[in-house]
């Protein structure tokens, strides 16, 4: 320890207990990457059990000694005192993840379902405090405590993301108050944000509208600096996210028609038929990716334009319809990713920006030659989903490669959690990939890590993946849940303290609107219960039977390994219904023009070794 570094500081250690000496009050532990720490507990730290949104503080201060058993994973927040060549840590706060050493509360059957209900309640109250679901009152900007901000903008994407969250909450709970928001939001998008271009036979979506009293001013092209004056693929993709999740529940043919017309937009104007992939932007008049007005966005392809179709809407559209054309689109998407994104000779991170000919674009805007950690994890997660639909060795190999590389390159093995944007290349002699702007951790990137390692664990059974998933779930649930105001924080500092400045203080913004947090709840529930722990789950739908092709309702909760889950029972309007195909996960509904509530119980199918 040099003199210049001789100062006290406070920080978090995420790690596993090796030994606790109750007499000396000394805790020996090691981090995920095996570095040992000795922590003093002699200053009577507080201790708590991780709690879900909506739960009171769970004090564990009286049970510290009995809970400090070897092998347990926990968070220790302490003050570090440098002394000669050592640093002594005095613990001030302990966070346990479960009552037993091998228990993790976020693996409780209903943990994520309860969490999505809390999120849905927060956002419904924030947007519609009077109770009536009137999207004229919707605003993109929502402050920390749920109040609306001064901005009067309604962005198409954030409405869609809210709709996604509410639809997901309905799928898991069957509560009509969430479906009402999802359906009214979908109608609002259709009425206010949609352009039906009959000449080109496509649909596209306005960036949003600005409300001024009783009138609205439509915002045609993007208002954001990355995409200014252009039509970015990203915005068109996310316009579909909410409606398609709603379509899984209702089967509303208008939603599918809009999705198909928007996909025609992608194929007609964004697709590069010669060299493959999709352009990230087109100009707002000719819908040309080669227009000079696009500047640095001219003839560019990126992760969002190529790959984000899958998680945002395309997998869900396939799940709802079973149409092979969507499966083909998905296959083409992941083939493109596998072919062009790996760049492991130069970096542990994928390359995610390209020129038209797929040469690497390392000078674009803020990204330069930087990696978005969460995009790497998102690719791994979605490759594993796709591998269950159309298995290819290269899908699983790339997912596995990302999963092996990311903990060292993109996670914080001292404090837990996953970083944001880092340089893809290390400078000479550097041990770490430098952070682009800060070492904070964003909520959505934690989501990608959790879902990637959960599905990898669920499909492969590898303990290393289970460990990563648990560590990521632990950090998210310990530090991102806002127990004071509700919902989740946008960003936390490296040690887990919420970062509440600027736009990152908001609960609703251009970036945040109950999409990622709800997607996490929905799929963490699916993966934890159905894929990993062998537990049943209930899902809810509300279609019009005669509106579905063949009156067939498709209820698969995600792209899961074939035969891993089956229907065990179905209820329609509370009465048992036996006309279903358990393995195909389809329910044939009785004839009817009135909507019916369908409850489906799904059961994991035990493997030959008894595993779920």
């Amino acid at each position: 320890m040099t003199d210049t570094a001789n100062f006290t500081f406070s920080d978090t250690i995420a790690g596993y207990i090796d030994h606790f000496d109750a007499e000396q009050r000394l805790l020996k532990m090691h981090t995920a990457d095996g570095r040992a720490f000795t922590v003093s507990l002699s200053e009577e730290p507080s201790a708590e059990l991780v709690r879900n949104l909506g739960e009171p503080y769970i004090d564990a201060s009286g049970h510290i000694d009995e809970m400090l058993s070897p092998g347990r994973f926990l968070f220790v927040y302490g003050i570090f005192y440098p002394k000669s060549d050592q640093v002594h840590c005095a613990a001030k706060r302990l966070v346990f993840l479960g009552r037993g050493a091998e228990e993790f509360r976020f693996e409780e059957t209903g943990w994520w379902v309860r969490q999505i209900e809390q999120l849905a309640s927060f956002y419904r109250k924030a947007q519609f405090p009077e109770g009536e679901v009137d999207f004229d009152e919707y605003r993109t900007e929502v402050r920390l405590g749920g109040e609306k901000g001064s901005s009067h903008v309604q962005e198409t994407d954030t409405i869609s993301r809210l709709v996604y969250g509410m639809a997901s909450a309905y799928l898991l709970t069957g509560k009509d108050e969430y479906l009402e928001v999802a359906e009214r939001g979908t109608e609002y998008l259709r009425k206010h944000m949609r352009v039906v271009d009959q000449e080109d036979d496509v649909v596209y979506w306005y960036h949003g509208v600005s409300i001024d009293g009783a009138s609205e001013r439509k915002l045609f092209s993007s208002e954001f600096s990355d995409d200014y004056d252009a039509i970015p693929m990203y915005e068109q993709i996310y316009a579909l996210a909410g409606p398609i999740q709603t379509y899984r529940i209702t089967g509303d043919p208008q939603i599918k028609a809009d999705a198909d017309a928007t996909i025609r937009l992608f194929e007609k104007f964004f697709h590069d038929p010669e060299l493959g992939g999709y352009y990230s932007h087109v100009d707002p008049i000719l819908f040309s990716a080669a227009h000079e007005s696009l500047g640095e966005n001219k003839e560019r392809k990126n992760w969002n334009s190529v790959g984000d179709h899958a998680p945002a809407y395309l997998i869900n559209l396939y799940l709802a319809t079973g149409e092979q054309s969507y499966a083909d689109f998905l296959e083409q998407t992941f083939d493109t990713i596998v072919e062009h994104f790996p760049d492991y000779k130069t970096s542990p991170f994928v390359q995610e920006r390209f020129h038209r000919d797929w040469s690497h674009d390392t000078e674009h805007g803020w990204q330069q030659n930087r990696a978005v950690v969460g995009h790497n994890l998102k690719i791994a997660w979605n490759l594993m989903r796709m591998n269950s639909l159309r298995s290819k060795p290269e899908y699983a190999e790339l997912a596995g490669q990302i999963a092996e590389l990311m903990p060292v390159a993109g996670s914080d093995q001292q404090r837990g959690g996953w970083y944001d944007v880092v340089e893809r290349l290390k400078s000479d002699g550097e041990d770490h990939h430098r952070f682009a702007w800060h070492d904070r951790k964003a909520w959505w990137q934690q989501e990608q890590a959790i879902l990637a390692y959960l599905i990898l664990n669920g499909v492969s059974g590898k303990p290393a993946y289970e460990r990563e998933a648990r560590q990521a779930e632990a950090f998210y649930n310990a530090f991102f849940l806002d127990h004071d105001e509700g919902a989740v924080y946008f960003n936390v500092l490296a040690g887990g303290m919420p970062y509440l400045l600027g736009t990152e203080r908001l609960k609703g913004s251009h970036s945040m609107s109950m999409y990622h947090s709800a997607e996490l709840c929905y799929l963490a529930a699916v993966y934890n219960n159905l894929l990993i722990r062998g537990r049943e789950m209930d899902f809810y739908f509300k279609p019009t039977p005669n509106g579905l092709p063949g009156r067939v309702l498709r209820v698969s909760p995600d792209l899961l390994p074939t035969g891993s889950v089956r229907i065990s029972s179905v209820e329609i309007e509370g009465k048992e219904h036996s006309d279903f195909d358990a393995e195909a996960m389809t329910v044939t509904l009785p004839e009817g023009d009135d909507r019916v509530k369908v409850k489906v119980r799904l059961t994991p199918v035990a493997g030959p070794d008894g595993s779920a």
């Binding site: 306005y206 915002l219 045609f220 092209s221 008049i285 000719l286």
Partner: protein
Amino acid sequence: MTLDLKTRNSRKGTVAELSGEIDSATSTGLLDQLLPLLGEAKGKSLVIDLGKVEYVSSAGLRTLLVVYREAQRASATVRLTGLSEELRFVMSVTGFLDFFEESGTVSEPSTVSRALR
């Protein structure tokens, strides 16, 4: 395809009288001609007279949207006049009509049948 643009000044602002077809071939050139007029129309109206326009393609419609957006930035108002029933229908279906104020005649730009701003 050709598109001609003639301008004249009226009491409330500049009138751009278009004749011909607005499609992907002519739209970029049209935008280049209309945008400078917005600067001149600051605080006033730019009236786009479509009475002699025979056809407006999707790209042409979007050109008008970009003009509208630029007008907002320039603190100018764009009014459309001379809309044929067919064009009015297309703009109504796409939602584009909501963007604009529509004048009954060129000589009376203050006679606004739709004032949504």
